[in-house]
Amino acid sequence: MASRSRRPRSSDSVPPTDEQLLACFQAGELLDEVDTYFGLTELEQMREVHRRCGVLAAAGKMDLLSLVESGEVAAREHRDFFTLQHFFVDAIPHLNEPLLRMLSAVDTLVKLGGEDLAATRPNAALRDWLRKDPARAEAIIAETQAGDATARAHLTFALEVLADPARARTFLESEEPLLRASGITALSRMPDLDPASRSVSVIGIGQALGDGADDMLCANAVEAVLALASQEGGAVETETILPALRRALEARGDGTLNRAAHALWAYQAARRPEVAAILFAALLDLNAAHKGTLDELDLGLKTALDSGRGAEALPFVAALLIKNRGRLKARQFDSLWNAMVTGPEPRLSTWIVTWLISGEAALGAALTEILSNLERDERSLAIGRAELPTSSDELGYLARKAVGWFMLQPHLATSLLVAILGVCDEQTARPVAGLLVTPVLRNYPEMRESLSQTPAEDPARPWIEAAIQEHDRYLDALKAMPEIPELRPSDHNRRIHHLHQADTMRSAHKAAQAQSVFLNLVHHSTLLYGVRSLTYVEDLGGGARRPMEMELGSHEFSMMLPRLEMLDPIGLQLMFLRLRGEARPK
């Protein structure tokens, strides 16, 4: 929500009187006073002043809506608008204006809010205004039926305020989609404690969709059906929900799928297995470029996971990633993965093993992407050995996949290999231990320390020791190598390499800065000398500058790269291709 703080006038802390407000309005300074919060610092005080303005306007002493109609509000700078919007939101419920004038002013205020999420707040104020006198809502309905476009646009609010499901249902049969949509939306928002009535509404909504081709209607329908099914006061039968839901989802419109994703987390009814199944089946057809829908889906999947329905959610995500390989990044579902990674380890290990052993490249790539943060923290996984496959072929295959996909995440790869070595037979263990030597230890000698900490009683221990021994033999031979200065690159080439690295790092630094959300909000100071700073700052309230000391800290980042990247980069790429592309044994 956009807002901007202004410094209140230091001498003012008393709310203005009605006379002062009127004088301000007449002087054309009311909006300026609103902008500066009338010099007040307490929110409730400000809101009370806004309400009094509304009352004064209702008494005919000032015409607040003229400020909107004249364009004075629109003329203000956008950063000041939402301060003014708050004023009108507080004042509108107290006004006494002709219906159409009010509707028009509210429309204008909503449009001035633009794409901001808070732009529609005036609609809530309008609802409050309508509630104060039901005749106003009736008037909207009457004007709608008379064909007035402004009234039709606000029919939903009128129906909501009247809270009469039967009344709202009459609009489901209208020839006009906009009116049907208003009826559907109003039904989703009004409380209806009678499950039979809600069932009738659900059926009516399904029938109101016609051929199901209108994405706007279908989107509203998905929301409404599940909202109705989720209300308290007796359940709507699943068999009643499903036909309407199926009809709404049939055309797979973008708006409809967005609401379907939203419904997964927003509505209790979406957790019913049959309902979730239909939603997931429809969401397989979502457009992978629609970030809004993906964000909704992420929350929905997390909700499913948290409520114990991971067995539905994870296969769905797998199917979605496979279907949209190359177009959809797994990291779009960051809430889901965060829940997975911080959740119970048996669930995490089962998921990893299942996706690795599937042999699907999209899932392997997703695992690599998702678990990269674990590697950054050098975290190993306690892979549940009960979750591992039982056949030797599959264990060997899993080991190769683990290496292929987690080659850049050695802690993860090592965890899996150790787990496999703990359960497999000798014939399988040999090549798996071989993978531990090459490529894991060969690329990441640091993993030796981690492996050495495997408990002595672990069945994998003998194989680990053999692998370490083989690795030590390799390292000892390298350590015994004498210096061969004739092989070293020349100073000239070293200098070129150094300059190239410096240029690359500089570019990366600039690119990272460009992505920072913080850098545009703060003042930059570049310190050339010293390890701490002393600056004299000026407060918002004015007055003498005060000293502010700050110690400088350091920020560092490191990551392990495989040694093969230096010794044999093409070999590394070929190894990735071979291990990642290996088909699952039949």
Binding site: M481, I484, R488, N493, L567
Partner: protein
């Protein structure tokens, strides 16, 4: 300068290292050298016999040479190389029966010659011996390192023939052996000036070559002492090539100057082989059997540096082996057998290098095909196991195809280190075409693939060439009529590019064209002076040092398959193969 030479002389490790410079030194001083040092034991205690006219009378000088300081052990120790027994042998045996009749009545000066000093502990004994054995006819002189240095400065290195500017460059070359590139550049300055000075007359040719030899030797000894012979290796190649250039200017091969030049070139070639041995036998080949040993010894974090260093070293290994093989063909008996065994050891070590260092499976620069070709030439010459060659080239072609198809880490036709470090700068077509505009590697691999039976790989390579490298000029190089004037000193471009070679699916067209071209232009290759003098490795030294492809005349015949008919000779020309007697079928 004197200090530099004194230190050099004192640093000589082996007697025959001192032998290398003494005859030339004596000749420059006006001595007539009657006999030169031979490998193994001295002739009745005499290493060098020379005659000089002193005060109108001929005096016979008999030198008994030792390296380093004269210690008690070196004076009269138990081993048969001790000096005193040699002096006794001169008196008892040489003077009785080995003096040429002409000098039987001449005065004799027996010279105790050593690179260092007489240790104090043995000085009295030596002085006593000399005093008690001096007669009217026989006298003794001490030619220690200091005296030799002075004589060098009066002779080979006198101011008139090695002016101060050259001495400065030479001192820098020696002082900076730890920075091989810089050291080599300074040596090259000296060599260029010696080359230029040498062209004045036949006499100056001989002097320049001896100076080149001496300077190269001094640089080698210093570099050896510093533990880094890189500059000395390159200097020995340059010295050999410049010496050859000076030699070929002598039109009468039977003249005294021609013989002196041949002798001096032999010494430089010996130095070159010795330097190669110091580097390769001493450091590289023992490390070849250690997995990733040489790669790790490069001490760089970039794959580019590893690749450049290892392929360069592979080319040197190939050249060293070729020299050993060449020497073996000119030896007999046990010496021949030993050289042959050593050659095979070098070949085996070369393949061990390849098997243990994955960087050698694909070059980063196209011109590294030169190093590959030199090593393959060695393999041909020694009849190496074709399976090892096949395995190597099979992997190389596979990786080449992979890198070209994926536009990642493919070999560049640019030699600029900056291009290598920044490669690839994206996969855009124009960059790819710019970096692959010409290739000697691809036709070389294609020609070798065919006789090795790598037909699938050859077919795939031809497809990549057709689809992705239509812009690339596939080529090889061979000498032309101007090459003799430029090959050794690389002052101008020369030779034929066998251009636009077709890389066809079964390699037969490529083979026929290259073979036909080799036959057609054989006279130019055969006409090179090293070829006619039957010291053909000099051509390969030139190719390696000046980065020219190995002419196909050396190897193309060895790559024919049973399906290839022997070609008819070109009209009006003798169609004798070039180097073909050194090539063997694999």
């Amino acid at each position: 300068m004197r200090l530099l030479i004194v230190d050099y002389l004192a640093s000589l490790k082996e007697r025959d290292e001192l032998d290398a410079i003494l005859p030339d030194l004596l000749t420059e001083l006006g001595f007539n050298v009657l006999s030169r040092p031979r490998r193994g034991t001295a002739q009745r205690g005499v290493d060098i016999a020379a005659v000089r006219t002193v005060d109108g009378a001929e005096v016979l000088y008999l030198f008994s040479v030792k390296a380093g300081d004269l210690t008690r052990t070196e004076w009269n120790g138990p081993h048969d190389q001790a000096l005193r027994p040699s002096l006794d042998e001169i008196k008892d045996s040489y003077l009785q029966s080995r003096v040429p009749p002409r000098y039987r009545d001449a005065k004799v000066v027996i010279c105790l010659c050593f690179g260092g000093e007489i240790r104090e502990g043995v000085r009295d004994r030596v002085a006593g011996y000399m005093a008690s054995n001096t007669t009217d006819r026989i006298s003794y002189e001490e030619w220690n390192g200091g005296r030799l240095a002075d004589l060098l400065l009066e002779g080979l290195l006198r101011e008139q023939v090695l002016p101060e500017a050259m001495r400065t460059s030479f001192r820098k070359a020696v002082a900076l052996v730890d920075e091989p590139d810089v050291s080599y550049q300074h040596f090259r300055k000296v060599a260029n000036q010696l080359l230029s000075a040498g062209r004045a007359s036949n006499k100056t040719r001989v002097l320049s070559v001896r100076q080149l030899s001496l300077c190269a030797w001094i640089l080698f000894v210093w570099a050896r002492g510093a533990g880094n012979v890189e500059a000395a290796y390159k200097a020995s190649e340059l010295a050999l090539l410049y010496a050859w250039e000076l030699r070929r200017g002598v039109t009468n091969p039977k003249s005294r100057e021609a013989k002196a030049l041949t002798l001096a070139i032999g010494q430089i070639a010996d130095l070159h082989v010795r330097t190669s041995s110091e580097l390769l036998d001493g450091k590289i080949l023992p490390a070849a059997t250690i997995e990733d040993g040489l790669s790790g010894a490069v001490r760089s974090s970039t794959a580019i540096d590893l690749n450049l260093a290892l392929f360069d070293m592979l080319g040197r290994v190939g050249l060293y082996g070729i020299w050993l093989h060449f020497m073996s063909t000119r030896a007999e008996g046990e010496v021949r057998a030993a050289l042959e065994a050593q050659t095979l050891g070098v070949v085996a070590a070369g393949f061990a290098m390849i098997n243990n260092n994955a960087a050698l499976l694909l070059p980063v620069r196209d011109d590294q095909a030169i190093d590959i070709a030199i090593f393959l030439q060695l393999a041909l010459a020694t009849g190496a196991d074709g399976r090892q060659i096949r395995l190597w080239l099979e992997q190389m072609i596979g990786r080449l195809v992979f890198s070209l198809r994926n536009r990642t880490r493919y070999p560049l036709s640019s030699g600029d280190y900056r291009d290598l470090i920044e490669h690839p700068r994206g996969d855009a077509d124009d960059h790819f075409e710019d970096m692959t505009r010409g290739s000697i590697l691809i036709p070389t691999l294609a020609l070798w693939a065919r006789p090795l039976g790598l037909m699938t790989e050859l077919k795939v390579l031809s497809e990549v060439v057709a689809e992705d490298l239509a812009h690339c000029t596939h080529q090889l190089w061979t000498p032309d009529q101007t090459s003799e004037a430029h090959l050794y000193i690389d002052d101008e471009a020369h030779g034929y590019a066998l251009a636009d070679l077709p890389v066809d699916a079964d390699g037969s067209a490529l083979f026929e064209i290259v073979r036909s071209a080799a036959k057609r232009l054989a006279k130019h290759l055969d006409g090179l002076s090293p070829m006619s003098a039957q010291i053909w490795p000099v051509v390969l030294v030139a190719c390696r040092h000046h980065r020219l492809p190995v002419p196909p005349g050396f190897w193309i015949e060895a790559l024919k398959t049973p399906a290839d008919a022997d070609p008819s000779p070109p009209p009006d020309e003798n169609a004798e193969g070039a180097g073909g007697d050194e090539a063997q079928n694999t």
